[in-house]
């Protein structure tokens, strides 16, 4: 074999703490290396051209690049060697940046380590063989999990692009958090007027099928061919015939059912349509409060329903759909502010969350758009807003900024003045973070035009005084303690990952970070991809995001899904398992262990049982290779011999005068 080695300086990123020239000299002496050189930026166009020229000039049939992580540029260099006429698998990378130059300062040790890593790559490459990808067809259908604004945007873009879409929503209606908002910043647009038409589009689009009150139960398969099981939860109403007339909700006698849509500010009926613009506009029974389901008596809704769609016997139903790509848009939940003792831990009814306040402001809310405080229904005159409740606070394990609370607090201060002209708003803040287009101007307007008083400091305690609450905090700019009498306190509760996120991540093989937000494939360059091919992220499930960013990500995820499924066929990674039929004894252990069902039993001409890998299904994990007692099934590109060659490169058998070869 004729191997070429290319050591990258990466500007000073590598060369700063690794003596690249020495590594070149050492590498030139490695087995079968006929050419070794270094370059400033190997991934740049001249760098890649250098590789191609060297392949031609020195007649190379294998290339090692020592540079950054293969997770970053392996595809780039594979394409480069392919352009030079080599098979893309006759290439290996040594990671001397993330694993060497960036983590150690001792140049001698780093240089030594870099040379070792290059030797490992050379030894592995000597045992590589050309691999050719197989093609497989895809299902031109996308699953969107979550019907918030990000998911809605992704679904509409995919459907407009010609793909069939299946949308799964956990709640009774799509719309997510945005549907609960009254107005949106910085334009004071009516939220439901902006979102409503898009929700209607979802319901009416011929390419979109919507499963509300449903959850993803399990996912199997792989990019292009996922099989998804959806649990349709029992609603006790036949949605194929329900017209959403609302007669049942008027007559239902069980009027003390909790109302999650209104953030539990009021109560609703046991059979209920959450809000007037709900999509799908169908009734559903809350089994915990329905008298018929609890005690077997009542049945009024069944009597009044003009189409006879009430079905008290309804059960959960499992539906299986085949899709080619998955967009995850599960959004966020609000931080549980009861963890803070200083805000009363729920003892004071007039301490509410920002989302509850949003429902009080909304014309479709429990108070019909009149701000009435929960304790006595009075109109508040002094409203105190407290920011960063569960944001930027390590003591409650929420060190991150929730991003948009500064903005919605300014919006709510403005709306308070609009609703109650003789009111006064106070905002306790840490910093004002308003980096969007027109955002800083908006917070200024809240202060200057609407007279909201901004107090820079934290709140130490809230205590009752008469029918008011006294908010005591620091004013760090004035250097004093302040006490503000408040009729209503609104907490700008921070954002946290959606409650089911971790479990869904396990189902989809998408990794959540320590806070439960899904990790993207690359923080800069692959913001909506995940490490599982064909699964994309949109919206706040990846991290706190405001509406425009969520919509942007929804479109981005749709573009990715459309791009993926626009190809007639996808190429599978040929680094898959391969059976040596001569060694296979037909024990079928590999068939039992394969998580993807990618191995099947076949009978050969002699009637003997043998394992056979279905190449397009195999994902290349190599579990079977370790399981096989015969060493008969080998994962291509990561064979036993290749990994052992790397081990031997690091720990030469001669170290102990014992030869294991």
């Amino acid at each position: 074999m004729r191997i070429g080695v290319f050591i990258c300086h990466c500007g000073s990123n590598i060369a700063g703490t690794v003596d690249c020239e020495s590594v070149v000299e050492i590498a030139a002496g490695f087995p079968e290396v006929v050419y070794a050189t270094d370059s400033m930026y190997t991934c740049s166009e001249p760098g890649q051209e250098g590789i191609i020229t060297a392949i031609h000039e020195h007649n190379l049939d294998g290339v090692v690049v020592a540079s950054c992580s293969p997770r970053m540029h392996e595809p780039t260099f594979r394409r480069a060697v392919e352009r030079a006429g080599l098979n893309r698998y006759m290439f290996e990378m040594a990671n001397i940046r993330e694993h060497v130059s960036w983590i150690g300062k001792d140049k001698a040790h780093n240089t030594n380590k870099a040379a070792d890593l290059v030797l490992m790559a050379v030894e592995k490459l000597r045992r590589n063989r050309p691999l050719v990808a197989k093609s497989f067809t895809t299902v031109k259908k996308v699953l969107v999990i979550g019907g918030g604004v990000a998911g809605i945007q992704a679904a509409l873009d995919c459907a407009d692009g010609g793909l069939d879409v299946v949308m799964v929503e956990r709640e009774q209606s799509i719309g997510g958090k945005m549907a609960k908002l009254d107005k949106t910043f910085p334009t004071i647009d009516c939220s439901s007027c902006v979102l409503g038409p898009k929700m209607v589009d979802i319901a009416q689009h011929e390419k979109i099928s919507l499963y509300a009150c449903s959850e993803v139960e399990s996912v199997s398969g792989y990019v292009g061919n996922f099989s998804v099981t959806i649990r349709r939860k029992a609603t006790y109403v036949d949605w194929t015939t329900c017209t959403g007339c609302g007669l049942c909700t008027e007559k239902c006698p069980s009027k003390r059912s909790p109302d999650p849509f209104n953030e539990f500010l009021g109560t609703t009926t046991a059979i209920n349509i959450p809000f007037p613009q709900a999509i799908p506009k169908k009734a559903a029974i809350n089994p915990d409060t329905c008298m018929k389901l609890q005690k077997g008596k009542c049945g009024i809704c069944a009597k009044v329903c003009p189409v006879g769609c009430i079905d008290y016997e309804q059960q959960d139903e499992l539906v299986t759909v085949e899709v080619g790509a998955i967009v995850v848009a599960t959004g966020y939940d609000l931080f549980d502010w009861h963890k803070y003792p200083q805000y009363g831990e729920g003892r004071y009814p007039d301490v509410i969350t920002s989302l509850q306040y949003e429902r009080l402001l909304s014309a479709s809310g429990p108070t019909g758009g009149h701000i009435k405080r929960p304790s006595d229904g009075k109109e508040p005159k002094n409203v105190v807003f407290i920011q960063c409740v569960g944001s930027r606070d390590r003591s409650v394990d929420r060190p991150y900024c929730s991003g948009f609370c500064c903005m919605y607090t300014a919006k709510q201060a403005i709306l308070t003045k609009d609703h109650i002209p003789d009111s006064q708003s106070f905002v306790f803040y840490m910093d004002i973070r308003a980096p969007g287009k027109g955002y800083d101007e908006f917070t200024r307007r809240a202060m200057e035009e609407y007279g909201a008083q901004y107090v820079r400091g934290r709140v130490a305690m809230i205590y009752p005084h008469g029918d008011q609450l006294i908010v005591r905090g620091a004013d760090t700019l004035a250097g004093t303690q302040v006490e503000v009498p408040a009729d209503l306190v609104v907490l700008a509760t921070g954002v946290e990952a959606s409650q089911g996120a971790v479990k869904l991540g396990e189902t989809l093989r998408v990794v959540p970070d320590q806070f439960g937000f899904f990790v993207e494939s690359h923080p800069k360059l692959k913001p909506v991809e995940t490490n599982t091919a064909g699964v994309y992220l949109a919206g706040a499930c990846q991290g706190p995001k405001d509406i425009p960013t969520s919509v942007g990500q929804g479109s981005a995820a749709a573009a990715k899904a459309l791009g993926l499924l626009s190809k007639e066929q996808l190429e599978s990674d040929p680094a898959v398992s391969k059976v040596n039929v001569n060694r296979c004894v037909g024990c079928q252990k590999c068939i039992d262990t394969c998580p993807f069902g990618a191995i099947k039993a076949v009978t050969d001409r002699m009637g003997r049982l043998k394992a056979e890998v279905i190449e397009t299904v195999c994902q290349g994990c190599g579990i079977c290779t370790v399981t096989c007692p015969q060493g008969a099934i080998q994962l291509e590109h990561f064979t036993d011999n290749q990994i052992l060659a790397e081990v031997n490169a690091l720990c030469p058998p001669k170290m102990n005068n014992v030869s294991f070869e």
Binding site: E98, V519, C621, N656
Partner: protein, 165 residues
């Protein structure tokens, strides 16, 4: 640990799964979390690809330590590879003392792609442990005659023989 020992590198081999721990090591690098330089990482697709014999081979070849890291249980990119790995590696850990290899020279752990800081901690701690143990003892191969003599000595000592006690 003296300054001189700290200077001298020992040979530590790492087997890391591509999706979580290798990414975690990358994350640590991107964040410039300084680590000891002794470790050399072998990238494998999944911790379920790691044959315990790879680890034994490394140790027999004279590695001073072997560190294995994969995705956290239930977060495996291949759904269940790390469950297989956990069983195999735990078995190996219990088996190593029987072969005469100090089991503290081998460790397995779980680090996700976002846990750069955790990776720094794992590497630093494991390297410290290996330095405390010092270089791996030299395996002295013996000739056929020596083996025969050892066997006879053992037989003569009966139950008091170290390998039967």
């Amino acid at each position: 640990m003296s300054a001189q020992d700290e200077q001298r590198e020992l040979r530590i081999v790492g087997f890391l799964c591509n999706w979580c721990s290798y990414g975690g090591a990358d994350t640590a690098g991107v964040a410039r979390f300084i680590q000891p330089t002794d470790l050399r990482i072998i990238r494998v697709p999944c911790s379920g690809r790691i044959d315990p014999l790879f680890i034994v081979r490394a140790l027999l070849n004279g590695a001073d330590g072997v560190l294995v890291s994969g995705c956290h249980p239930r977060d495996c990119h291949y759904a269940e590879g790390n469950f297989y790995a956990r069983r195999r590696l735990e078995m190996l850990k219990r088996f190593l003392p029987i072969t005469g290899i100090d089991e503290r020279r081998f460790e397995y752990t779980w680090v996700s792609a976002s846990e750069g800081q955790r990776w720094q901690h794992v590497v630093t701690e494991f390297t410290r442990r290996i330095h405390e143990l010092g270089p791996a003892p030299f395996f002295n191969p013996v000739s056929e005659e020596e083996w025969a003599k050892l066997a006879l000595d053992g037989a003569a000592r009966g139950a008091s023989c170290a390998c039967h006690g």
